[in-house]
């Protein structure tokens, strides 16, 4: 595997810990990738720090994705892939929300590109993004009922 090893990882984590030690719940280093697990109420603030802190400078939100860990709680695990173009660095922010309250802050105020990424997660998993300007289904038809990518939704669909 020749992807650039995350040499800057410890610097990034250290900056985030200095800013707010509560935000860095857990750090996972696996296969050359750094994941910072953040409590969901601190996600927006941490993301803002990642973008605006000049030592972090994660200007590009590459991807937002959800993993349904059903039946493990907290059920929905959100993964945000950040890229710093000037520093040639990558980071993953992870947070989890429960099935009873699948709500998390929208990252649109920080990266406008989060718009469709979050709409897709809402469409397929049913997670509500607080502060999203236009949260509605994007891939499935308007009247569709259910959230297909949840693990308890059958692949063949419901009829």
């Amino acid at each position: 595997m020749t992807q650039l090893a995350n040499a800057n990882a410890s610097v990034v984590v250290e900056r985030l810990r200095t800013w707010n030690a509560q935000a860095v719940q857990q750090v996972i280093e696996y296969r050359g990738e750094t994941t910072v697990v953040v409590p969901h109420h601190l996600l927006l603030a941490t993301a803002k720090q990642c973008k605006e802190n000049p030592d972090l400078n994660f200007d590009l939100l590459s991807d937002a994705t959800c993993v349904d860990r059903f039946p493990i709680e907290p059920r929905f695990e959100l993964n945000y892939s950040l890229v710093s173009i000037p520093r040639r660095d990558r980071l993953r922010l992870r947070t989890s929300v429960s099935a009873q309250q699948p709500v998390v802050d929208s990252l649109m105020p920080i990266w406008p590109g989060a718009n469709w990424l979050e709409r897709e997660i809402f469409d397929l998993f049913g997670i509500h993004f607080e502060g999203h300007t236009d949260l509605r289904r994007i891939l499935l038809p308007e009247g569709f009922e259910g959230f297909p990518l949840r693990r308890d939704f059958p692949t063949e669909g419901k009829r």
Binding site: Y30, T65, C66, R69, N79, W111, G113, W116
Partner: protein
């Protein structure tokens, strides 16, 4: 949306449907255009007409079976999709792919890039009215598809790149075929440029159209030629090299004007750079050598071994019936697709089938910029902007 009553002498905006059936939306894309005469006030894309639930389907298949689904996501870049998925799974498994297989992968993916840009150029020119360019581009693309057919038996949905390497050895005589293509191609690209680059109509249709600043583009998560035409030299092959790209000598093509014409120049330049990479890869690929890594239980054994050795037979049986189980964890691999940063996020729970496969589709994300690009411009410019973003609906909708 304007829905109020209008007083006499004032105008009211009209909402018009562009698509989902439309020759210029490059697939089943529906764009609701709110128009003031010929000018666009707002454009709202409506997606999902090609949504087939590929990501959900991957969860029902073993890791190796899911490769065939990946071909069909960005159907103009099947090898790129194969590659990004295989890189993610290889990351999860901790597999190291042999250099020879990496060079073959690079060559195939760059051939795919040329083929994709040829389709882009042909269809974009067709939208703008330059119909003959379409036929020339598809004529050259035929040569690439013939190469793919020689290698894998398939013109488009090759599934040639597999976990651990590539599917089969390169066929006899492949070097002559690729060399003939490489010798012919630069002159053909010169032909396209002779028809278009200095053409007053082409420049008139594309210069100054669809401008977005680099800050806006990065904020909207745009990557690929659209971002490079704004002066941001971000290319995954250079920034986060994968599959031995750090051993290849090529340039990242950038412009600064960030309009449709700049994106055209960037993509044509990228075609030329790809030809350089293909030639270097062709020289690096040795006549003999491995095409897959040795990983019993994960990568299927060679057929000769499977037919004579007991262990190989057992491994073959286990791989094709049960599949292999990567350790629990997640991996995110990215490649530079012709459309931008193509990523694949794979999550494993320790079972033979993936827990979650997600594709970071550049067309889906780049399309977010469309409403910003076309605001205040003409409908004809909307056609140019949709073409310049270079979307493939299979990737937008998955």
């Amino acid at each position: 949306m304007a829905t109020s009553e209008t007083a006499l002498g004032t105008t009211k905006a009209m909402v018009l449907n562009m698509g989902p059936q439309h020759p210029s939306t490059h697939g089943v894309l529906r764009v609701l255009l709110e128009l003031d005469g010929e000018n666009v006030i707002t454009a709202v894309p409506d997606l999902g007409y090609l949504h087939t639930g590929i990501e959900k389907s991957c969860e029902d298949k073993t890791y190796a079976q899911a490769i065939t689904l990946t071909d069909r996501i960005d159907y103009l870049n099947p090898l790129g999709n194969n590659l990004v998925y295989c890189l993610a799974v290889e990351k999860l498994l901790g597999l190291e792919v042999p250099k020879r297989a990496q060079y073959i992968r690079v060559m195939m993916v760059e051939l795919q890039r040329v083929s994709s840009h040829l389709v882009w150029l042909g269809t974009h020119a067709l939208d703008m009215g330059a119909m003959s360019v379409m036929l020339y581009c598809f004529r050259e693309r035929e040569e690439i598809l013939k190469i793919f057919e020689r290698f894998s038996g398939q013109r488009m949905m090759t599934s040639y790149i597999r976990i651990g390497g590539v599917a089969v050895q390169p066929p006899a005589g492949w070097r002559d075929q690729v060399k003939r293509f490489l010798d012919m191609m630069p002159a053909r690209i010169d032909e396209y440029e002779a028809l278009l680059t200095e053409n007053r109509i082409w420049q008139g249709r594309l210069k100054g159209v669809g401008y977005l600043s680099p800050e806006t583009l990065i904020g909207l998560s745009t990557t690929g030629p659209g971002l490079r035409a704004a002066g941001v030299a971000f290319d995954n092959r250079k920034a986060f090299p994968y599959s031995s790209y750090e051993e290849f000598d090529f340039n990242v093509v950038t412009r600064t004007e960030s309009d449709c014409f700049a994106r055209y120049l960037v993509r044509v330049g990228e075609m030329r750079e790809s030809l350089k990479i293909i030639r270097q890869a062709m020289d690096k690929i040795t006549d003999d050598g491995p095409i897959k890594t040795e990983a019993p239980g994960i990568v299927p054994p060679q057929r000769e071994k499977m037919k004579t050795e007991m262990e190989a037979l057992i491994y073959h049986f286990k791989i094709f019936t049960e599949g292999f189980s990567p350790p629990p964890g997640e991996a995110f691999a990215t490649v530079e697709s012709p459309r931008g940063e193509l990523g694949c996020f794979v999550a494993s729970d320790g079972s033979p089938k993936p827990l979650r496969v997600h594709f970071r589709a550049p067309s889906f994300i780049n399309l977010q910029a469309l409403p910003f690009m076309v605001q205040g411009q003409l409908i004809a410019d909307t056609v140019a902007c949709i073409g310049t973003i270079d979307i493939v609906l299979g990737e937008v909708d998955r």
